[in-house]
């Protein structure tokens, strides 16, 4: 199930929801509906193509989250846009610590400021934006279904 935004955390802080389990990058579509209900996100639409299925959700804080499922149900990519970034730990799931390590490593001498690109082979993350406007995407190249180009994940 997908738990995506910081808002989900806020929701937990203000409510007595039971502790949820999450499906995120690398997770499975099976529990997405239960998760969406728990995070109080609205299902905006589902788009099915021959190569993947896209679930688009909107969190109460206005963050749009798109999750890309392979035919077998595995989440191979996620993307977001809204006034705040999503909860990266929830969204990246088993890839989160890899993301943290990679962002630390990216702090080299002539480092970029204002855009974050992580590319360590098995995980690609891009984050861009400014005050009250964030967007980004993440995917695991090894999970991309055959014939799907990474640039569909936006």
């Amino acid at each position: 199930m997908t738990r995506t935004t910081l808002v989900a955390i806020a929701a937990l802080a203000f409510s007595t929801l039971p502790s949820p389990t999450f499906a995120s990058l690398g997770g499975n579509v099976g529990t997405v509906d239960a998760d969406r209900v728990q995070m109080k996100a609205a299902q905006l639409r589902i788009i099915r193509t021959s190569a993947y299925t896209l679930h688009e959700l909107q969190s109460p804080a206005g963050v749009t989250i798109r999750e890309y499922y392979a035919p077998g149900g595995t989440v191979f990519g996620v993307a977001w846009e809204g006034p705040w970034p999503p909860d990266m730990r929830q969204l990246l799931g088993p890839y989160f610590e890899q993301f943290q390590r990679a962002t630390g490593a990216a702090r080299n001498t002539r480092r970029t400021r204002g855009v974050l690109m992580v590319n360590d082979g098995s995980l690609i993350v891009r984050i861009s934006g400014h005050a009250r406007a964030f967007s980004g995407f993440a995917y695991a190249p090894g999970l991309l279904p055959q014939g799907v180009q990474p640039n569909v994940i936006r």
Partner: protein
């Protein structure tokens, strides 16, 4: 050891403390404008910044002459509010408190990480202007060392001088405060930036808009509707440093008139559109805190990625490019820019107009866009001769 020593020396050089006298808000000379803050583009306090615009900011314990002037503060039109690294702050600023008298602490997301630290109250003085008794963030783990899980889930903490490569960040972006109504209410729509931290642990809290970390400019008595940034053209190949100005107010004095500048209004996420090679990219913005023009990717631009300066483009030859910015109001302007090789910049240079890099699907017009321009940033809800903010103009 050497590194520590070097940083210590640079800190001593860039941070100075002084007592403010009561006349510090008046004109520095007969008729001299009091709304102009000098800014410099240089390597910054850790001596490794590329395309960072810095200034001195004076902060004071509210309504006292107990003040400190801190240099090496990054000028960031992409964020809102003043944030100071705790290790350079020597003032005993009063701590803001929330429910039950518990201290208020903030977790502010940036693109490359988050800043965690207490919200404190200060008078903020720049040029001849004063923002009295506004909330600022003191960034650091010294007072509240345990970052809540809901904050660390944002990614990577940026808590120190070496994380930020700046003594602080002056957010002079498009808004009056850093969050707005979303943070002022309880419930699932609160994005969870503000916490109260009683001894039992930090919990997300509703933070009234007026108590949030504030854009100092909007709290000036005058010249409070926005800013004007002016930086000179930089020669191809770069330069060791450059200097310019940040002028407060838009159309409020003879030195901040809009003149013939074009106004670009913004969508609901404060973005405009950029058209490049016939494609329109809607998540476009201008940001002095971005140190290059970041757009698209190597595959769509033909610009190779750098081998060393990860994230930047490194074409073998200087590459001329053009893109058209388009505001929500339909205003358009074609912008010519160049992509150069960041790996080959002279190691002693800190200013490089040709710094470009990857940002798949988007356009981030960073500091090089400001070189050779006069750029206006109008704050949301504030009235100007060009209309009510937020907007960009140049």
């Amino acid at each position: 050891m050497y590194r520590t020593l070097l940083i210590g020396i640079m800190l001593a050089a860039q941070v100075s403390s002084r007592q403010c006298d009561s006349s510090s808000t008046s004109s520095s000379g007969s008729g001299a404008p009091t709304n102009v803050l000098p800014i410099v583009v240089n390597a910054g306090p850790t001596n490794n910044y590329l395309n960072g615009a810095f200034a001195n900011v004076t902060i004071c314990v509210p309504a006292t002459s107990n003040c400190q002037t801190i240099g090496g503060i990054l000028i960031d039109t992409g964020s809102v509010g003043l944030r100071v690294v705790s290790s350079v702050l020597t003032l005993p600023l009063p701590q803001q408190t929330g429910a039950g008298g518990a201290p208020v602490v903030e977790c502010l997301p940036f693109v490359d990480g988050f800043t965690w630290g207490p919200v404190q109250t200060a008078d903020v003085k720049m040029a001849g202007e004063t923002a009295s008794s506004i909330a600022v963030q003191v960034v650091g783990l010294d007072k509240f060392p345990t970052v809540p899980g809901s904050c660390s889930s944002q990614g990577t903490a940026e808590e120190t001088l070496n994380d930020l490569n700046a003594n602080g960040i002056l957010g002079v972006g498009l808004f009056r405060e850093d969050c707005g109504l979303g943070c002022a209410i309880t419930g699932s729509s609160n994005p969870g930036l503000y916490y109260t931290c009683p001894s039992s642990g930090c919990v997300i809290a509703a933070e009234p808009v007026a108590s949030q970390v504030q854009n100092p400019v909007s709290h000036f008595a005058v010249n409070n509707n926005g800013i004007v940034i002016q930086l000179p053209t930089v020669q191809t190949g770069g330069a060791p440093s450059s200097s310019g100005t940040m002028t407060f107010g838009i159309g409020t004095q003879s030195n901040n008139a809009l003149g013939s500048a074009k106004v670009f209004t913004l969508d609901n996420l404060a973005n405009f559109a950029t058209v490049f090679n016939g494609q329109t990219y809607t998540s476009s913005f201008i940001d002095s805190g971005s140190n290059g023009i970041f757009f698209l990717d190597s595959a769509s631009t033909g610009l190779p990625d750098c081998k060393n300066s990860t994230g930047f483009y490194c074409p073998t030859a200087l590459t001329a490019l053009s893109a058209t910015q388009r505001g929500l109001n339909g205003t358009t302007n074609a912008v010519a820019f160049n992509a150069g090789n960041v790996d080959r910049i002279n190691a002693t240079f800190s200013v490089f107009a040709e710094a470009t890099g990857a940002n798949p699907g988007g356009f981030d017009w960073g500091l090089p866009f400001f070189f050779g321009r006069t750029v206006f940033v109008a704050i949301a809800g504030q009235s100007t001769p060009g209309g009510t903010g937020p907007f960009w103009a140049y």
